[in-house]
C-alpha cells in the first residue's frame, strides 16, 4: 500500500502522548500479553514497557524439561517478541522492578530507573517453594551448594553444568515438574531417585492406580521412586559438599545433585508492598483487574481469580487475551471465566494426560470407566457425570487423548459406547477394496468407486467372457479412474475363471 492510512497518521501524531502500559514480568504470561496487545493494536496507539528480571528474552518454560534432557537447544525455545528496534515496545531484560508507587503511577526498577504508567500489569509469576529441610537453604532462603530449583533457563543451565560431574541425582517432589526434571536427568545418564512425601506420584492430578502405573513406567526408564518419604535434612560431608537427603525414617538417599521441585508460590512481593489486595495471589476480577486498583491488572501464576491460582501456561494465555482486549479496548465485553486445566507430562518414554476430577469419594455416584494394564504401563480412567466427561486420566496408551481432551474442554456428551474413550473407535466404514477375498464380497459391494462399478457387474462381465482387466474396463469402466481397484478386478477374473474355466457364460441349467 503506497498511501498512508489516515489512522496511522493520526496514531503517529499521538505518539508523544500515547497511553503507557508497563508490564512487570517477561515470562510466558507477560511476553504473551505483549503479543496479544500488539495484535490488537495495529496502529501502535499504545506504548509498552516490559521488565524482565531474567537476562533472557522470553522463552517457553514448558519446554525447559526438554532442554534439561538435552533434546532441545535453548535457542529453540525462544518465544516471539519485539525486536530491539521496535518502536512500540521497550523490553528491559535483567531489570527487576523493585517497587510500585500507585499514587504517583510509576514503577522503580533495580537499575534506578523510574517509569510512569497509565496501566500496570503484574505478570511476576511464581517462585519455587523451598521446603524446610535442615541444611537446604541459608537464612535468606537461597539454596546452599549442591541444591537447585528448576524454574528458569539459568536454573536449567546450572543443573546441566552440575549434572556433567554428577552420577546420582535426587529430585525432591514427585509432581509434574519433579518428574519431568527426573526424566531429563535420567536422559543425561544420571541415576535418579524421586523422593515424594505422598503415597503416589502426582497426587494432585492422579488417582493411586495411575500413580502406581506411572511409577512402574518411570522405574523401567531408570528413575527410582521413593513414596511416602518425608525428607528432613540435607546430608553433607565434612567439606560441606552435598551428599544426599535424610528421610524421616532415618534412612538416607545418597546423591551428588539435588533438584528441589516441591511446588511453587506466587510471586506477590511487589503487589503486597504496593498495598494491593493479595491472598495467595493478586486478587483480580473477571477482567483480571486488581480489586484494589482499576489501573492495575495481574495475570498468570501471580494472579488469583475466583479463588484459583493457576500454575499452567494455558490459563495464563487465556487471561492474556482478556487483559489485551481491555487494555486495547478491542473487546470491552471480554471476560475471563476460569480455565479447565489439562495436565500433560512431557518426558521421554512416559506419556500421561490428566484432567478434572480423577479421584472420587467412596459414595460418589459418578460413573467411572477404567482399564488398567500396569505391566505394559497402560491405564485409562474416565469420570462421567450426566453424560459429560468431568475427569480423565490416560497413561501409556494415548490414541484417544485428543478426543478425550476436547470432550472435557467442551463439556460435550460422551458416546454411548464408553470403550471408544479408552481404546478409540472401532471403525468399520465402507468396504475396502483390497482385503476381502472375492468370494466373500457381497455382490453389491462397489469395487470401482471412481466409476461406481459393483462386484456383481464385474462378475457378470467376466462371466460374459471378459478375461482381462482391459476387457472388463472396456465394458464397465472399472479401473479407469484412480486405477486402485486393478488388483481386485484381477482377483475377480481369476476367481470366476477358476470356477468357470470355459469362457462360456455360466447359465444355471
Amino acid at each position: 500500500m503506497s498511501t498512508v492510512d489516515p489512522r496511522v497518521a493520526a496514531a503517529a501524531a499521538m505518539i508523544s502522548q500515547r497511553p503507557r502500559i508497563v508490564i512487570v514480568g517477561n515470562g510466558m504470561a507477560g511476553s504473551r500479553l505483549v503479543e496479544e496487545i500488539r495484535s490488537r493494536d495495529p496502529h501502535r496507539m499504545l506504548h509498552i514497557t516490559a521488565f524482565g528480571a531474567e537476562n533472557h528474552g522470553a522463552y517457553n518454560r514448558v519446554l525447559l524439561s526438554e532442554v534439561l534432557a538435552g533434546r532441545h537447544h535453548p535457542d529453540d525455545i525462544r518465544l516471539a517478541g519485539p525486536g530491539s528496534d521496535d518502536g512500540q515496545v521497550d523490553v528491559r531484560l535483567g531489570v527487576p522492578v523493585v517497587a510500585v508507587d500507585r499514587a504517583r503511577r510509576e514503577v522503580r526498577a533495580a537499575d534506578g530507573s523510574v517509569t510512569p504508567y497509565d496501566v500496570l500489569v503484574l505478570a511476576t509469576g511464581s517462585q519455587a517453594r523451598i521446603p524446610p529441610l535442615d541444611g537446604l537453604a541459608d537464612g535468606s532462603g537461597a539454596l546452599l551448594p549442591g541444591g537447585f530449583v528448576f524454574r528458569t533457563l539459568d536454573d536449567c543451565r546450572e543443573i546441566l553444568a552440575a549434572a556433567a560431574g554428577a552420577h546420582r541425582a535426587v529430585v525432591l517432589g514427585g509432581g509434574l515438574l519433579g518428574l519431568e526434571a527426573a526424566r531429563g536427568l535420567a536422559g543425561q545418564g544420571l541415576d535418579v531417585v524421586v523422593v515424594h512425601q505422598f503415597g503416589h506420584l502426582m497426587e494432585r492430578q492422579l488417582d493411586p492406580m495411575a500413580g502406581r502405573v506411572l511409577a512402574h513406567t518411570l522405574r523401567v526408564q531408570g528413575v527410582q521412586v521413593r513414596l511416602g518419604a518425608a525428607s528432613t535434612a540435607v546430608v553433607r560431608d565434612a567439606t560441606g559438599r552435598f551428599g544426599g537427603i535424610r528421610l524421616d525414617d532415618g534412612s538416607c538417599v545418597l546423591a551428588d545433585l539435588l533438584v528441589v521441585a516441591c511446588g511453587v508460590v506466587p510471586e506477590v512481593t511487589l503487589a503486597r508492598a504496593a498495598g494491593l489486595s493479595v491472598d495467595r495471589g493478586v486478587v483480580v476480577d473477571d477482567v483480571l483487574r486488581s480489586v484494589s486498583d482499576p489501573r492495575v491488572f495481574a495475570l498468570g501464576e501471580c494472579a488469583q481469580h475466583s479463588g484459583q491460582v493457576y500454575g499452567l501456561v494455558a490459563p495464563a494465555w487465556e487471561q492474556a487475551t482478556v487483559v489485551a482486549a481491555h487494555i486495547t479496548g478491542s473487546d470491552p465485553g471480554a471476560r475471563y471465566a476460569g480455565s479447565r486445566t489439562v495436565t500433560r507430562l512431557r518426558a521421554v518414554g512416559v506419556d500421561l494426560a490428566a484432567m478434572g476430577e480423577t479421584t472420587l469419594g467412596d459414595d460418589d455416584a459418578a460413573e467411572v470407566v477404567q482399564f488398567a494394564d500396569p505391566t505394559r504401563g497402560t491405564y485409562a480412567k474416565m469420570v462421567i457425570r450426566d453424560e459429560r466427561l468431568v475427569g480423565a486420566i490416560l497413561v501409556g496408551e494415548m490414541s484417544t487423548v485428543g478426543t478425550v481432551t476436547q470432550l472435557f474442554d467442551r463439556g460435550a456428551p460422551v458416546p454411548a459406547d464408553r470403550t471408544s474413550l479408552l481404546f478409540g473407535p472401532r471403525r468399520g466404514g465402507q468396504v475396502t477394496t483390497s482385503v476381502a477375498a472375492p468370494g466373500q464380497m457381497p455382490s453389491h459391494a462397489t469395487l470401482c468407486r471412481c466409476n461406481g462399478v459393483t462386484k456383481g457387474a464385474i462378475q457378470e462381465c467376466v462371466l460374459a467372457g471378459a478375461r482381462t482387466v482391459e476387457a472388463v474396463a472396456q465394458a464397465t469402466r472399472a479401473t479407469t479412474g484412480c486405477g486402485g481397484c486393478r488388483d481386485v478386478v484381477e482377483g475377480i477374473i481369476e476367481w470366476v475363471a477358476a470356477a468357470d474355466p470355459d469362457t462360456a457364460p455360466a447359465v444355471p441349467a
Binding site: D351, T403, G481
Partner: protein
C-alpha cells in the same frame, strides 16, 4: 469454426473398427483442474463417445464424471434462445439475440449514467477458458471501465494464491509436474480428498506407494484418500494452522531443519522459529484434537524423508485464515528445504477446471493479465498499451467476490451484474443472503448453457456454448497450458461467450478489441502476459499440440516452458523464499450451546461444484443420490437421528435440509455436507461468509451448526 475434424489423434483406434472413420477430437474434460485428456468421437446419429487419452496427468484414466461428460451435450433442458424477463408476467421469455443484447446494453448504459461506472459489475468463473477469462477482464476494464469484477475462484484458490505469492513471489499451483508426486518419499496432503475429487490423480500416488513412499493425510474425515495414509491426522475443522505450527515445532526442536538451505535460499526464519516455539505438540493436541504423539510421528516421517512434498487443498484454504494456514505449511516445507528440489516441494492442488489460468489473466479484482497487479503502474502501462487505451482509464482494484456479491443492490453497491460461468446462488457462502442480493439487482445478466439457479434469478439469460462446442485453452493444476477443442457445433441459437462479449462491447461503444476467434484472443493474451509473472508469450496453439501442453512461464517461442520452478531461485526480489510469521487463531464461529456441531463442506465423487453441469447427467445424479449430511453414529445417537432420516442443519445464517448418512469415518463433533445441491439442500445456506483478511476467502470449511429432526 467447423466442428469435427480438428485433429485425429487416434491413429490406431481401439479394435481398428469403424470408429477409425469417425473424427476423433483430442480435448480435455470439462470439470476439475486435473483436466484429464480425453478423446471425443463424433459419429452422425450417435451420441458423442468419450474415451480416456494417454496424458502425463490422467495417464488414460477418467472418473465417472469424465466418462459421462458428453451427456452434457444432449441435456434436454439446454438453452438455445436468449431469455428476457417480462416485466408484466415476471417470467423469463424467449427473445432474439439482438433484443436481448440491446436490453442488456441499454440497462448498463442507463445504470452507469445514473450511478457511475462501478455500479455495473462482472462475476466470472474458474471454469472459463483462458481466452474467456482474459476477455472478461478486458471487457470490465475497457468496455465497462468498472472496478467491480471478481470471480468464483476467490472461493477456491485465493488463499493458496496469496500465500504462494508472498512466499515464492509467484503462484503456480504445482511448481512441478504432477507425476513428480511419485518421486516423493513422503507426501503430506492437507485438506485434500484426491481420491474423490480427482480420482485419476491417485495413479501418481499409487506409483509413489509402489516406490515405498509414505502418505500423511490431514482431514477431519477418514476419506477415501485418508484410508491410503500411513498416518491420518484427523484434525478439528479450522485448526490446520496449529497443526502446521506443531509440525514445524517438532522439526525445529528435534534439530531437523535444513539449515544450509534455510541460510542459502530463504529469509525470515528467525521470527517463524520463535513463533513455533509456542506450539509444542501437547498444546497442538488440545487445539487440534490430534494426539501429540501423532504430531511427532508425522513430523519425523517428513523430516527423515529424502524427498518430501507438502500439498494443500481447499480443506486448509477455505478458512478465514486460509492464507496464513497455507503460509504455515509453506514455512514447514521451507524449514525442511523442500521447495525447488526435484521430487520435493510445496504445491497447492487447484480445484476448478481452469482454476490456474482463471486466476492469471485479469478476472480477479486486483489483477491484470500475466498475473500482473492492477495497482502496479508499470503493469497498467503495459496492458493498457496492448489494449490501446490510456493507462489512467483503467479502474483500480475492486472488492473481492463475497464483498462484491454482498453489496449487490445496496447503496453504493453494484446494481447490474453480468455473471459468466458461475452459479453463486448455490456456490456463494450464506447463499440465501446472496440470492436476495442477486434478486435486488436492477439488472442481472447470466451467460450459461443451462437455466442454472442463478439464471433463474436473472433478468436476461444468454445461452452460450459449452466445453466441447468451442475452442480455447485451459491451464491445469501444474501450470500446463492445454487445448480444449470443439468436437461438435453449438446448437442453433447458441453463441459463445466471446461472441457475447464482442456483441455487448460493440453496443457499449467499443466496436473493436473483442474478437470471437479464441486463437486471436489467445494471441492478444500472449502479448498482454508477456513479461508478467504468468508469461504465456511463447505459448502457441501449435506448440500445445506438439508437446502435451506447455508449462508457464514461457517468455518466447524458443523457450521450452518451465516444468519445474524455483530450482535456482525464487521469484522474489532477492531470489529467496520468504518465511511468513503466522500464528494460529480460532475459527470465526466456534461451537456453543446453541450450535454445538461443526459443519464442514466439500465434494463427492460423482458431482462437481454447484452441480449446474453434473446434476444434468442422470448417471451422476443416480450415483450421488441427493443432499446428504454425514455424521458420526455417536452424534446421531445423542440426537436420536437414524440413517436416512431427513434433518435440518441450522446455523446463524440459515438452514439446509438433507438426509442423514451415518458414518464412523467422521469426527464425532463434525458434520459434512456436499455443496452440489440447489434449493433447500444447499449447504451454502448454512456456511459462514467470514473472510480471510489476506485473500478474501470465505470460511466454507467450518461453521457452527445444530442438527434438528424434522417434525413429521
Amino acid at each position: 469454426m467447423p466442428p469435427g475434424n480438428l485433429g485425429d489423434v487416434s491413429p490406431k483406434p481401439p479394435g481398428g473398427t469403424v470408429a477409425a472413420m469417425a473424427p476423433a477430437v483430442a480435448t480435455h474434460c470439462p470439470y476439475c483442474a486435473l483436466q484429464c485428456a480425453m478423446t471425443l468421437t463424433v459419429r452422425p446419429g450417435h451420441p458423442v463417445a468419450v474415451a480416456g487419452r494417454e496424458f502425463p496427468t490422467n495417464r488414460g484414466g477418467l472418473c465417472q464424471k469424465g466418462w459421462t461428460s458428453a451427456d452434457l451435450l444432449t441435456a434436454p433442458d439446454r438453452l438455445t434462445t436468449p431469455l428476457v424477463r417480462n416485466p408484466a408476467s415476471g417470467r423469463l421469455q424467449p427473445a432474439s439475440w439482438d433484443d436481448a443484447l440491446d436490453a442488456v446494453a441499454a440497462g448498463i448504459a442507463r445504470i452507469q449514467a445514473e450511478y457511475g461506472r462501478d455500479a455495473v459489475g462482472v462475476f466470472g468463473g474458474g471454469g472459463l477458458t483462458n481466452e474467456k477469462a482474459y476477455a472478461l477482464g478486458k471487457f470490465a476494464r475497457v468496455a465497462l471501465r468498472t472496478s467491480a469484477i471478481d470471480y468464483n475462484g476467490r472461493f477456491c484458490m485465493a488463499a493458496a494464491a496469496a500465500a504462494g505469492n508472498r512466499a515464492f513471489g509467484l503462484d503456480r499451483g504445482l511448481p512441478f509436474p504432477l507425476a513428480d508426486v511419485a518421486l516423493a518419499d513422503v507426501l503430506l496432503l492437507v485438506g485434500s480428498n484426491l481420491a474423490e475429487t480427482m480420482p485419476p490423480a491417485m495413479r501418481h500416488l499409487a506409483d509413489q506407494r509402489a516406490r515405498g513412499g509414505r502418505l500423511v493425510v490431514v482431514d477431519p474425515r477418514l476419506t477415501e484418500t485418508a484410508r491410503e495414509a500411513t498416518i491420518h491426522l484427523q484434525v478439528t475443522p479450522g485448526t490446520d494452522l496449529a497443526l502446521a505450527l506443531g509440525l514445524l515445532h517438532v522439526v525445529i526442536t528435534s534439530d531437523l531443519v535444513d539449515t544450509a538451505y534455510v541460510a542459502a535460499r530463504t529469509s525470515g526464519f528467525d521470527a517463524v522459529r520463535r513463533r513455533a516455539a509456542a506450539w509444542w505438540p501437547e498444546r497442538v493436541e488440545r487445539v487440534t484434537g490430534v494426539p501429540a504423539g501423532d504430531v511427532r510421528r508425522a513430523a519425523y516421517l517428513l523430516a527423515d524423508a529424502g524427498t518430501a512434498m507438502v500439498l494443500t487443498s481447499r480443506g486448509a484454504e477455505q478458512q478465514s485464515k486460509g492464507a496464513d494456514t497455507v503460509s504455515a505449511f509453506i514455512n514447514l516445507a521451507l524449514a525442511l528445504g523442500l521447495p525447488g528440489r526435484p521430487g520435493s516441494g510445496y504445491g497447492c492442488i487447484t480445484g476448478q477446471g481452469n482454476g490456474q489460468g482463471g486466476r492469471e489473466h485479469g478476472q480477479k479484482a486486483d489483477q491484470l493479465p500475466g498475473y500482473r497487479r492492477l495497482d502496479d503502474p508499470a503493469a497498467r502501462a503495459h496492458v493498457a498499451g496492448v489494449w490501446g487505451v490510456a493507462p489512467d482509464t483503467l479502474p483500480m482494484p475492486g472488492k473481492s467476490a463475497y464483498e462484491l456479491l454482498a453489496g449487490l443492490g445496496t447503496e453504493g453497491g453494484v446494481r447490474a451484474l453480468l455473471v459468466v460461468g458461475s452459479n453463486p446462488a448455490v456456490s456463494a457462502p450464506r447463499a440465501g443472503h446472496i440470492q436476495e442480493r442477486l434478486s435486488a439487482l436492477d439488472l442481472l445478466v447470466v451467460c450459461d448453457p443451462f437455466r442454472s439457479e442463478t439464471a433463474e434469478l436473472a433478468d436476461v439469460v444468454l445461452p452460450v456454448a459449452q466445453w466441447a462446442e468451442e475452442d480455447g485453452t485451459t491451464t491445469n493444476l501444474e501450470g500446463r497450458v492445454l487445448r480444449r477443442r470443439a468436437a461438435v457445433a453449438p446448437p442453433p441459437g447458441v453463441r459463445t461467450d466471446l461472441e457475447v462479449l464482442g456483441g455487448l462491447a460493440a453496443r457499449l461503444g467499443v466496436p473493436h478489441g473483442f474478437p470471437a476467434d479464441p486463437e486471436e484472443v489467445f494471441g492478444e493474451l500472449r502479448r498482454a502476459s508477456a513479461g508478467g509473472v504468468a508469461d504465456y508469450a511463447g505459448v502457441t496453439y501449435d506448440r500445445i499440440d506438439d508437446a502435451d501442453g506447455v508449462l508457464w512461464p514461457c517468455p518466447d517461442e524458443a523457450h521450452p516452458g518451465t516444468p519445474r520452478m524455483f530450482l535456482e531461485s525464487f521469484a522474489t526480489g532477492d531470489g529467496r523464499a520468504r518465511f511468513v510469521d503466522v500464528d494460529h487463531r480460532p475459527v470465526a464461529e466456534d461451537l456453543d450451546a446453541d450450535y454445538p456441531v461443526y459443519l464442514t463442506t466439500g465434494r463427492v465423487l460423482s458431482q462437481y461444484q454447484s452441480g449446474a453441469q453434473t446434476r444434468r447427467v442422470p448417471a451422476l445424479v443416480a450415483a450421488a443420490g441427493g443432499p446428504l449430511v454425514e455424521l458420526h453414529p455417536d452424534l446421531a445417537d445423542h440426537l436420536e437421528i437414524v440413517e436416512g432420516e431427513v434433518v435440518r442443519v441450522v446455523s446463524r445464517r440459515g438452514a439446509a435440509v438433507a438426509a442423514a448418512r451415518l458414518t464412523d469415518t467422521i469426527r464425532t463433533d463434525t458434520a459434512f455436507m456436499a455443496f452440489h445441491w440447489p434449493g433447500a439442500g444447499r449447504a451454502n445456506l448454512v456456511t459462514n461468509p467470514a473472510l480471510d483478511p489476506v485473500s478474501g476467502m470465505p470460511e466454507f470449511k467450518v461453521c457452527a451448526v445444530r442438527l434438528e429432526k424434522v417434525p413429521v
